[in-house]
Symmetry: C2
Subunit: 349 residues, 2 copies
């Protein structure tokens, strides 16, 4: 992973500095909420993908000449890709702000969620401002295709979250429906980050298609890994308690796979129980019998090997994503994009 590591070392400080500077321009209260969610860490996956596709595709089109002394120059030349890259993080953060209200989540990246600190109404509006800021930064590139892709991705992200809410009310054992939801709520925005980078780099149709294919498959693999980690990561590493999805009544792949090993009667019983968890207003506060059953089910899912099976599914999407890269010019950025796939698959938080 040394190419990706080198890149992260060079790029993360710049991305974080740009994010901080843009955030400081926001109205006071929005700024506080935005800093709360933006400065709590975060992998900056989406901005990095935009930068990587931009640079990789620019090499192919010759639109941008990289300095020979370094494969990852810290400042781009005439065309500054950072505002576009940052817009992806602003859009993502906006969805997190709204999402945590919906889920009633108490913790994000190990700290109290914004709506608990600043209030729900302020957090809703701060999310709206960040969405609009992201859209404005994208529009400043003067290419309506970028604006279209981002709008479409946000539509699908919010729609995916609504579908998930509905599913929590009426959970059913459906792998297809599960994949549709995670593609919506996670993969489309990751795809948009890739696609926008390729378009801004002057990519042709083939390069743009490669970015779309890579992005959607990486996005699905990313969420599958997330859902596997929810059953396996230690609380102190993940920044949130183990089995959080189950606690919120979310039916994710590890549990779906586990339930497929059960009798129909047991399945029905668990489904009814998961549904009752989803109906609780405050998912943090389980009753004592529910806590015991939660602990039991989490252990059973792990013992049945369903965490590993979920990661194996993620690996299949990573294969598809890797294939998509083959049409791109061979360059350090392409290697970094390959390494990012492995990193996604094997991450522990």
């Amino acid at each position: 992973m040394h190419v990706l590591q080198g890149l992260l070392q060079d790029e993360l400080p710049i991305i974080n500095d740009r994010l901080a500077r843009k955030t400081r321009e926001l109205p006071e209260l929005v700024r506080a909420v935005a800093e709360h969610v933006l400065m709590a860490g975060g992998k900056r996956l989406r901005p990095l993908l935009t930068i990587l596709f931009f640079r990789c595709v620019s090499r192919g089109t010759g639109e941008r000449v990289l300095s020979a002394s370094s494969s990852f120059p810290s400042a781009s030349g005439g065309s500054d890709i950072y505002p576009l890259a940052c817009s992806m993080e602003f859009l993502h953060s906006a969805t997190l702000l709204h999402d945590d209200i919906l889920d009633g989540s108490d913790l994000r990246r190990g700290q109290a969620t914004a709506h608990l600190v600043y209030g729900k109404t302020e957090t809703i509006l701060a999310g709206d401002v960040l969405l609009a800021l992201g859209n404005r930064l994208v529009a400043e590139y003067g290419d309506a295709r970028l604006s279209w892709r981002v709008a479409e991705a946000i539509m699908r992200t919010a729609s995916g979250e609504i579908q998930e809410l509905e599913w929590i009310k009426r959970p059913a054992l459906s792998l297809e429906h599960y994949l549709e939801i995670i593609t919506g709520k996670t993969a489309y925005l990751i795809q948009a980050a890739c696609h926008c980078g390729a378009l801004a780099g002057g990519g042709d149709e083939q390069a743009a298609q490669a970015a779309l294919d890579y992005g959607i498959n990486l996005g699905i693999a990313f969420q599958l890994t997330d859902d596997a980690l929810d059953y396996s990561a230690k609380a102190e590493v993940a920044g949130k308690p183990v089995g959080n999805d189950l606690r919120e009544g979310k039916l994710t792949l590890p549990l779906i796979l586990y339930m497929e090993t059960l009798s129909e009667a047991e399945r029905k019983d668990i489904l009814a129980w998961v549904r009752s968890l989803g109906a609780v207003a405050d998912p943090g506060a389980l009753s004592a019998p529910n806590m015991a059953r939660h602990e039991h089910v989490v252990q059973a899912v792990r013992a049945a090997g369903c965490v590993e099976q979920t990661r194996a599914q993620a690996a299949q999407y990573v294969v598809l994503a890797e294939k998509a890269l083959s049409s791109l010019p061979e360059c350090p950025e392409r290697i970094a994009l390959q390494e990012a796939l492995q990193h996604t698959l094997h991450r522990e938080k």
Copy 2:
């Protein structure tokens, strides 16, 4: 007002039909929430402004030839302005959905607000989907200036609402701050509707500036009239109770003007009381003494002539808006835009 009336008769059914058709394409739950807010009436002011500026400016540039048989053909030719016009209503509706959650409003256009019918979480997400749908429709015109204008307007709208929330917590007698808030929360999106119409019509810099100037001044006049109506309209006409702003702890111009007639001690006392109203979680439920005082203050504001003074302020902005029209080509649409100003000023709901 016969030109505007004729236009409304021709255009409203088309706008409503297009809105309904676009809404039907949304995911099921979003669709229900969107129809709830979109189909409850509404003046369609923003779509109409987009259409009027588009047509008026197109005449000047000759980019679009109108059929000679009618000044308001119901279907545009090669360039279809309706999706752009509808996008303004989707964006506006999205802000209403979020806004009603923040205000804790029970009624909108005489019916229960969406979050009471469909739940807060569903309404937040439906608002996000409508925002994104609006952005996507705008992006489909292939002109990033449109996307930029809309993003900027939504940023300012949400920022204005946040400022208003803060002001409710710490009300102060400041006309300047009041104007800043209403410009933010109302005028910028109306301005964007005008500006986008002019840009889509191929307007030059002068035409675009006319649209910006007309829009911002109409927007301020519109909100001033709204705030006057809040103290004067009958509940059955307005679709919400009289004195609603005061009930929510909102300091609007009629009350500001009234307070300027009081002694400093009386002013301080009222400010403290208004602040206490804003701090109540459910503004629908005033205590008996608060109800009596609310009734008393509303009557005092009316008796002091502050409703008329607020309308007089609105008239000054209407004069500025009318001036902005002078650089546009003389045409029926320009007459309709003038009539829209008078209509805004004299409306009773």
